[in-house]
């Protein structure tokens, strides 16, 4: 197993592990944005740059996708590495000036402000890291969104920049978005979930008991297809909100007298 010496700390990692994984093992923090362990690597945001030492030349590389194939000496604190990461962060702050999440990460890196004006506006506050696209394709299996355009016109959108038709309203993109730009909006009147900024809308299942909005109908359907349940009540239970589900389960238990008198509900 190759050894990675990172800021002086030595760790052994599997061959072809990444420098970032080695850093995690060594307890060294490297800021990341377009990286998430649930999806494939992209290397797009360039925030995780570190400096490779040794060999014939020093070299800046992205730690999230640089494979360790032999022993490496890495610095996350060299002047070049810090300058590179902070420079990238300043550009990102200019692009997404309203993201609190980004500001927090910048602060943790010691970047308190950006010297650049906001000049790119294809999609406000989106840093185009592509995590949403990858999670939608690789984890959810929908590929409802993708990149449209290129360069400064690039944006994340549904096909032909129209509302994403294949979106099932699961919200994985919103959950993975590192800058808080993708939001879930609930439309009470229409009983719909909207994923902004993709303008995709999905019907929600409403609790059969209390009328609370629970989950996108499509997500529930897909989940049901994936689960083989011998519990006949299951599909019905899914149509209840968690509160009502609890209540009904308790009631059913009470009726069946299975745990008669043994269970005390606190």
């Amino acid at each position: 197993m190759p050894t990675v010496t990172i800021d002086g700390i030595k760790v052994e990692v599997e061959k072809n592990a990444t420098i970032l994984e080695a850093a995690q093992k060594a307890g060294v923090w490297i800021p990341t944005l377009c990286y998430h362990e649930a999806v494939s690597r992209s290397g797009a945001c360039r925030l995780c740059m570190v400096e490779l030492e040794g060999g014939d030349q020093k070299q800046l590389v992205t730690s999230c996708n640089y494979p360790v194939r032999h022993d490496l000496v890495v610095s996350t604190t060299s002047e070049q590495a810090v300058k590179a990461r902070c420079g990238v962060m300043e550009l990102l702050l200019a692009r997404a000036p309203e993201s609190e999440e980004l500001k927090e990460l910048a602060e943790r890196m010691g970047v308190l402000q950006t010297s650049f004006p906001t000049v790119t506006e294809s999609q406000r506050n989106c840093i185009l890291c592509g995590l949403c696209i990858r999670v939608c394709e690789e984890v959810i299996g929908q590929s409802a969104i993708g990149f449209a355009g290129r360069g400064v016109d690039k944006a994340v959108a549904g096909p032909f920049r129209q509302p994403a038709e294949d979106c099932i309203g699961c919200g994985a993109c919103a959950a993975i978005c590192p800058v808080g730009t993708i939001r879930i909006r609930l439309h009470e009147e229409e009983q719909e979930i909207e994923i902004s900024p993709f303008k995709s809308r999905n019907k929600l299942i409403v609790c059969e008991e209390c009328g609370a909005m629970i989950i996108s109908a499509q997500v529930s359907e897909q989940a049901l297809r994936k689960i083989e349940s011998i519990f006949a009540e299951f599909p019905h239970r899914l149509r209840l909100c968690p509160q009502c589900r609890k209540k009904q389960t308790a009631k059913k238990l009470e009726e069946s007298k299975v745990f008669h008198k043994k269970v005390t509900v606190s």
């Binding site: 797009a44 360039r46 590179a84 550009l91 290129r150 400064v152």
Partner: protein, 621 residues
């Protein structure tokens, strides 16, 4: 005797067939070659070809005339070009009405039409042959040697000119190892921009484990104004294919791809035709020339984005994915197309290969400088007298290209800079005009070899505008995947734009330099890494010009609108009243016989008077 469309089953067939073809062609005494390269075709040279054919058909005289469409001659400035054999008589700027006379006088009568010959503007001497024209005799044509001679749609033309003899040599007498040794000995470096040693690339791929290796030809040529690769693919497609087959033999590949940009339909057509002919002849496909080596080539059309020429983006595009670059921490020679070991080379690189095999690596290495061998094709454009496609030996000075081949700067203007290396190249000023064409020397000067763009700029060119133009191009062509390139280029363009508007700020140059450094260090692919070259090189050589814009709100080249004024030269003004009539804001006063004047307070600097004055009496000051 080998029948005219027979399949070759042994390497010996090639030489025998070529001999046969040459004997046959001796029987046709007259040949007319009409250039259908990019420049000439734009001036409707195809029509000339048809007229010559018709004339030949209708001629009552008992003389056999062969009419050929040929690829770019390079001297596009003087197109359409028609060359007549015997005698290699070189006619330029030929027009439709000339065809009948050429046919009667030159082809049938053997007399030369003086008025269609090239006349040296300096000496007034007429040139009968191309070789007598400075534009050509300073060049060294290796890659382009058959362009302008052979009909690219006929494999027989290529064979008669010695085509596929290198392949025959490789298959009959060389091991893959020996092929690689020759390429290594030649010190051939990639012509697509990076200048990576081709032999080393091939060796790594040969040594990489795994089967199903690939060979790719990069014919994306996205540099604006460049047409080197286009002219080769259109004018001599077989030379590219032969190079690829030899490469495949050397590294052990079975499948090849040629990636051509969609805007090159003629290149696609000629390559497609050439591949079909090669297959039929047993030069591609199973058991090439009767050996146990098999290889085939497919053509892929690129979507036309500049970034698709970048190796990893090209591969993504071939795989049917969006044409975006990927990390190359694992080299393509180990894991390229579909994860298989892959060799990607540029069109011109491939074309050099048969020459190297035929003449030996040493022959190639004898041309050029210590670290840059062979020749390089450039598309010479801009403010130069002779624009066109030129091939020069490495090591020739930029001065000789601009002054001797290019004939100097147009309209007696002063030379200011020559831009090499494509959009992310740099500008080289007059004081370095004696620099040699050499990968490392051009890089040291802040420019690069690139794939062969060469733009000459005169004294009226504003270097801030030049930087802005290329930055804008790159900003538009950036794929937008990575932060520094997408955001950094937008920031740089923002700064440059404000400088050209006279709104520059004191620390703008420092900001540009810091951004340049950031891009070079952190961008994902070479587009972003080199994108600041136009800015850095113009700051390096023309800093005073930037400062004039920023500090004095003045554009010394008088190109940036608003940063200079118009004034009427009283001596030159004939008081004709044209400017006065045309000024849209009535900012000009004057009467008959009284020199006119511009009221500066009213003038909006639209430039109408400057355009309209028939006596050039309006000056930019």
């Amino acid at each position: 005797m080998i029948s005219t469309d027979a399949k070759f089953t042994s390497p010996n067939d090639i030489a025998a067939f070529a001999r046969q073809l040459r004997n046959k062609s001796k029987a046709i005494p007259k040949v007319v070659r009409v250039c259908i390269g990019t420049g000439c075709a734009a001036k409707d040279s195809r029509k000339l070809y048809e007229l010559f054919q018709e004339a030949a058909r209708k001629s009552s005289r008992d003389v056999r005339v062969e009419t050929k469409n040929v690829g770019c001659h390079g001297f596009c400035e003087r197109g359409p070009i028609v060359v007549i054999d015997p005698g290699e008589i070189f006619y330029q700027q030929v027009e439709e009405p000339d065809v009948a006379e050429i046919f009667r006088e030159t082809i049938l009568g053997g007399r030369i039409l003086e008025r269609l010959l090239f006349e040296d503007p300096l000496t007034g001497k007429k040139a009968t042959k191309a070789a007598e024209i400075p534009f050509y005799n300073v060049q060294k044509r290796v890659v382009l040697s058959a362009n302008g001679l052979i009909d690219p749609t006929q494999i027989t033309d290529y064979l008669a000119a010695g085509g596929y003899s290198a392949l025959a040599k490789v298959i009959s007498s060389m091991s893959p190892e020996q092929v690689i040794e020759q390429v290594e000995e030649s010190h051939l470096r990639g012509r697509g921009g990076g200048g990576f040693p081709t032999g080393r690339k091939w060796r790594s791929c040969r040594e990489a484990s795994g089967n199903g290796k690939y060979i790719i030809c990069n014919g994306d040529e996205g540099d604006p104004g460049a047409f080197m690769d286009r002219s080769i693919m259109e004018g001599n497609p077989h030379s590219v294919i032969e190079g690829m087959i030899i490469g495949a033999y050397a590294v052990g590949a079975e499948q090849g791809y040629i990636y051509v940009r969609n805007e090159y339909p003629l290149a696609v057509r000629h390559l497609t035709g050439a591949i079909a002919q090669t297959r039929k002849r047993g030069l591609l496909g199973k058991n090439i020339l009767g050996s146990n080596f098999s290889f085939d080539i497919r053509i892929n059309r690129g979507g036309g984005a500049f970034v698709c020429g970048e190796s990893s983006a090209l591969i993504a595009s071939l795989e049917g994915k969006p044409g975006e670059p990927r990390a190359k921490y694992v080299h393509m020679v180990e894991s390229g197309l579909h994860g298989k070991p892959t060799v990607l080379n540029n069109v011109e690189t491939w074309t050099n290969v048969p020459k190297i095999i035929n003449n030996g690596g040493k022959w190639f290495a004898d041309i050029g400088t210590e670290k840059s061998k062979g020749t390089k094709v450039f598309s010479l454009v801009g403010k130069v007298v002779n624009t066109g496609l030129v091939e020069v030996p490495m090591g020739i000075s930029l001065r000789r290209i601009v002054e001797e081949i290019g004939g100097g700067v147009k309209d007696d203007k002063k030379f200011k800079a020559v831009q090499t290396g494509g959009p992310s190249g740099g500008c080289i000023p007059a004081e370095h005009l004696d620099a040699r064409v050499d990968f490392d020397e051009l890089t040291k000067l802040g420019s690069m070899m690139g794939s062969g763009g060469m733009i000459v700029m005169d004294e009226d060119t504003c270097m801030v505008q030049v930087a802005r133009y290329f930055t804008e191009f790159l900003q538009k062509e950036s794929c937008g995947k990575c932060t520094p390139c997408r955001e950094g280029l937008a920031q740089m363009l923002h700064i440059l734009t404000r400088i050209t508007k006279g709104e520059g700020q004191a620390d703008d140059l420092d900001k540009l330099k810091a951004l340049a450094e950031l891009l070079e260090g952190t961008a994902l692919c070479a587009l972003g890494k080199t994108a600041a070259n136009p800015i850095l090189s113009t700051i390096r050589y023309f800093q005073a010009e930037y400062e004039a814009h920023i500090q004095q709100r003045r554009c010394p080249a008088k190109e940036c609108k608003g940063l200079f004024r118009y004034k009427i030269d009283e001596e030159a003004c004939k008081a004709c009243g044209i400017c006065l009539k045309n000024c849209p804001v009535d900012a000009i006063v004057g009467e008959k016989k009284v020199p006119h004047k511009i009221i500066q307070e009213k003038c909006t600097l639209c430039g109408t008077c400057w355009d309209k004055c028939p006596f050039s009496a309006v000056l930019k000051v």
